[in-house]
């Protein structure tokens, strides 16, 4: 179902926007022909294999590749000495250190060397013959270990960014962020009720089904072509060039289909290794990660420890919010905690706020974005505390949130992320009301069953996008963009182009161009593709319309002002000419000025923040602690849904991943800092039998800064499930789970503690 805001007067008259055509790339994806990175091969191709560190923290005393070099089929070996010393940390945090270890390994699975050989087996066997002498160092695996007074230092001279440098001494805290508004003490003094608690989450992985893969072909001319799966091939090009010390334009990246990313493919791991191996071997080199490598060397989202204190009046008015956040960043830092701090109270008008966020260095893989990065863990704390407060003041949990919900003109946190500092038009309250009015909110519950609600916020981002439209001789349009299609965005681009040009969506061919055929486009992240690349497409399509009108005026020998463009045809204003269809114009293009094409390329601004409200009904088995999700309903403000099926798909996918976070998923390490569950059997992602249907309510409060009102829909859906599940468990059996994942062991332990206390 969908809910359209009453004051939305613009989106009622669309012909293609809001329809559900079969996606243009669908056929190839159901008949096995779609080419993902690992599916691509080249003549003379050889295979690369990465030797990875078995230790979580160790000095590399020496690397001896001589024996490996003499192994059968070996064509090239690379180590850190084959790559230039990083000038400084360019791009994403410490990419160069993460690419291949230089003198030290910081986590189990970090790349140490890579081999290319004629077969995968030869590469693997040769890599095993590389002799690396390690001197093991003490490991720091958790926030508590890292922040202890006597903690071993992962970096001997790390001074906390954002701290008072004069007093600072080296620690495992990479960054701290502090901000406040109002007077926190006054705020809590005004409250009738104050509640504070601490929540922890373990690291979890994006869990895309396609492991990272690439194929590089480096020529004698010093240029390289890379086929790979990523969320942004322009990012792959620039990051790979930097790692190699090359000029960016020496590299061409051709995007393969991407088998899921969720933020995890917004960086590079293999590409510079493959380019270098290919250069040395003078052969194309393919590299494909195993699932074990994906778990140990890519991803995850940080484990966290978050303390939240909220004060409210009996009326429900929140007077103060205080938060302390620590995020496990991996070995090189990042800004995940800061991001969590910006999100943690973003949904509510709280006059007095104080937030402290700490980025913690641990001997774990380098964290990378995972769908609304940092926000789900922050929401776990805030939304659990609000649930408690609603019960204490005997107020409906949705009413409490509606009472305090942010609206247009209120402060938006995170001044470097938000574009204005004030919320633009948003649809948060509408999502709350949609859930409150949904029949699922009133279904009676049985014994051991509970109902939880929670909300989520995500910034969304804008950035740079490009699109080129070429009209073919037969009047069809090829719409080329630089955004990898990670979940149906080709269809969205085609729909928006069809709407502007006025031709059937099936006459549009949407394609993803490589780095040499389409203009620069930022990574598909921050829920930006349909928003920002969509604007580029609309921009190009509007230029196309202008051009075909010109051509019609030439064909009619009339003034341009006399030509109108209606449903894909030129119409003379006075009706004195027979209308000319687009195919008639393109067929005559040679005579009227040449081929018809247009480009839209822009730095977009004005992304719309996203909100979601979710309702979870579940049952707890008191014997085993197992939680079964009975019903799940999610309401999300999409702005305008271009292709509602894929909007629903994003909402449902986010919920399923969030339920995985809530109930099952976690990185488990042993005493030596080695991961013990680096496969899908033991890292338990939700399967079909774990989930019910996920009911979606698309709320449409159009984003005034997009021609069709789009705001990003990809990420925010993952934010509420953690607290929604926790709140439902509390409703079902009266225990508040403050450690995720809320696995049967933890639920049972909490039930036993409660029953013990009662008995």
């Amino acid at each position: 179902m969908s809910v359209v805001a009453e004051d939305n007067s613009v989106n009622q008259s669309y012909k293609y926007v809001g329809t559900r055509p079969v996606r243009h790339d669908g056929l190839e994806k159901v008949n096995g022909k779609a080419r993902f990175a690992a599916d691509i091969s080249k003549p003379r191709m050889i295979h690369g294999h990465v030797l990875r560190s078995p230790h979580a923290h160790a000095k590399i005393l020496s690397i001896d590749t001589s024996k490996a070099e003499s192994m059968p089929g070996v064509k090239a070996i690379v180590t850190a000495s084959d790559f230039p010393l990083p000038k400084k940390d360019e791009g994403f945090p410490h990419r160069s250190k993460n690419l291949i270890a230089r003198g030290k390994v910081y986590y189990e699975g970090q790349a140490v060397a890579a081999v290319a050989a004629t077969t995968r087996r030869h590469a693997r066997e040769a890599a095993a013959k590389i002799k690396v002498n390690y001197q093991e160092l003490p490991t720091v695996m958790t926030i508590n270990e890292a922040m202890a007074d006597d903690a071993p230092l992962v970096h001997e001279n790390l001074i906390t960014k954002g701290s008072d440098k004069k007093e600072a001494k080296p620690s495992n805290i990479a960054e701290m962020d502090f901000h406040e508004r109002g007077d926190i003490d006054v705020g809590f003094a005004e409250a009738d009720f104050v509640y504070e608690n601490e929540f922890t989450t373990e690291a979890f992985h994006q869990g895309y089904i396609e492991p990272h893969a690439c194929l590089a072909d480096t020529g004698k001319d010093g240029r390289s072509e890379i086929w790979c799966s990523s969320q942004g091939h322009f990012m792959v090009r620039s990051a790979t060039a930097k790692m190699l010390g090359w000029e960016t334009s020496k590299i061409k990246v051709i995007p393969a289909e991407i088998g899921g990313g969720f933020g995890g493919k917004t960086t590079i791991y293999l590409e510079p290794l493959a380019v270098k191996l290919s250069e040395k071997a003078d052969r194309p080199v393919k590299m494909v990660m195993s699932r074990d490598e994906v778990f140990k060397a890519t991803g995850p989202a940080p484990g966290t420890k978050i303390r939240v204190k909220i004060g409210a009046k009996k009326s429900g008015e929140i007077t103060a919010g205080k938060a302390w956040l620590a995020y496990e960043a991996g070995p090189f830092g990042g800004s995940w905690a800061k991001l969590g701090g910006w999100c943690i109270f973003a949904s509510y008008n709280i006059p007095n706020v104080q937030i402290e966020a700490y980025e913690i260095i641990v001997n774990r893989p380098v964290n990378i974005a995972y769908r609304a990065p940092s926000a789900p863990m922050a929401a776990y704390a805030t939304e659990s505390v609000l649930d408690h407060i609603a019960k204490e003041i005997d107020m409906d949990p949705i009413d409490l949130r509606i009472f305090n919900a942010v609206k247009e003109g209120d402060n938006q946190p995170g001044d470097s992320v938000a574009s204005t500092g004030k919320y633009p038009k948003i649809g948060f309250k509408e999502t709350l009301e949609a859930i409150k009015n949904h029949p699922n909110y009133k279904i009676p519950l049985g014994p051991n069953q509970g109902r939880g609600i929670a909300t989520g916020y995500w910034f969304n981002i804008a950035q740079t996008s490009s699109a080129t439209i070429n009209l073919s001789e037969d009047g069809r349009a090829v719409v080329m963009t630089g955004s990898p299609d990670i979940g149906g965005s080709r269809a969205s681009m085609a729909i928006m182009a069809a709407e502007v040009i006025g031709i059937d969506v099936n006459l549009i061919q949407p394609v993803v161009g490589d780095t040499e055929t389409v203009g620069f486009t930022d990574v598909t992240e921050g829920s930006r593709a349909t928003y920002a690349t969509g604007i580029a497409v609309v921009n190009a399509a509007e230029k196309i319309v202008r051009k075909v009108k010109e051509r019609a005026s030439i064909m009619w020998d009339c003034n341009l002002e006399d030509v109108e463009w209606v449903d894909g045809s030129a119409i003379h204003k006075d009706g004195k000419e027979t209308p000319i269809s687009l195919p008639e114009i393109t067929a005559e293009a040679k005579k009227t000025g040449g081929p018809l094409n247009a480009t839209g390329s822009l730095e977009t601004k004005g992304h719309g923040p996203a909100f979601s409200t979710q309702l979870c009904d579940l049952e707890v088995d008191p014997e085993t602690g197992r939680v079964t999700i009975l019903r799940y309903t999610t309401a999300q403000d999409a702005g305008t849904a271009i292709h509602p099926s894929y909007v629903e798909g994003q909402m449902q996918g986010g919920v399923a991943q969030g339920i995985g976070m809530a109930l099952n998923e976690e990185y488990i390490y042993n005493q030596k800092g080695r991961m013990e569950n680096s496969g899908f059997l033991d890292y338990r992602m939700p399967v079909a039998s774990d989930l019910p249907m996920i009911e979606t309510i698309i709320v449409e409060v159009p984003n005034p800064r997009h021609p069709f009102g789009v705001r990003g829909v990809g990420e925010v859906g993952i934010v509420p499930p953690l607290p929604a599940v926790a709140n439902a468990i509390h409703d079902a059996v009266g225990v508040r789970l403050r450690e995720a994942p809320m696995s049967p062991v933890k639920v049972l332990k909490a039930l036993n503690q409660k029953n013990g206390a009662n008995g």
Partner: protein, 165 residues
């Protein structure tokens, strides 16, 4: 090390390939035969992205040795459509938007084809358990389950004749 010569039927055609004794059937299909529809998501039989049908049985191709295919009959996603006519499951997946990135889709199609051959009229729960060996990280399974149920209805009304081989 000499390689093993394997003869079998793949998607109705006679096929042959050379493989190592310990090579997985998945690697042989992808690297030796050139059928890359089946994907490797884990290599340990946990994700189902490499689902194929061997001698009528749904298997993870990553868990079978390639020489086991000798004399066998293999069905992969590439053989699901009959000429230009898509299998009802393929059509249903498209119409229900039951794929996002699409990398798990070949495995789901094969697993659900196998289900409908065994049980032409499954309940939602039966569908969910039948595809519980296939991981999808994009969709939350909702639209996949709906597509399979819809295809089952379609196939009851319009049975496929001479399906597969």
């Amino acid at each position: 090390m000499s390689r093993i010569h394997v003869e079998c039927k793949i998607n109705g055609d006679d096929a042959e390939f050379l493989c190592d004794a310990d090579e997985s059937l998945l690697d042989a299909l992808r690297d030796e035969v050139g059928l890359t529809g089946a994907k490797e998501g884990c290599g340990t039989g946990d994700c189902g992205a490499c689902s194929i049908i061997l001698n009528g049985n749904l298997i993870c191709a990553c868990l079978a040795f390639a020489p086991e295919a000798q004399g066998g009959v293999i069905e992969t996603v590439e053989g699901m459509a009959d000429e230009d006519q898509l299998h009802p499951l393929q059509t249903a997946f498209l119409e229900h938007a039951a794929l996002q990135c699409g990398v798990c889709t070949p495995g789901f199609l094969i697993a659900s084809k196998s289900l409908l051959e065994r049980n032409p009229d499954p309940t939602e729960t039966e569908v969910r358990y039948a595809i519980a060996g296939n991981l999808c990280r994009c969709t939350g399974y909702d639209k996949i389950v709906r597509a399979i149920l819809a295809a089952a209805q379609e196939m009851k009304q319009n049975p496929i004749i001479g399906d597969g081989l």
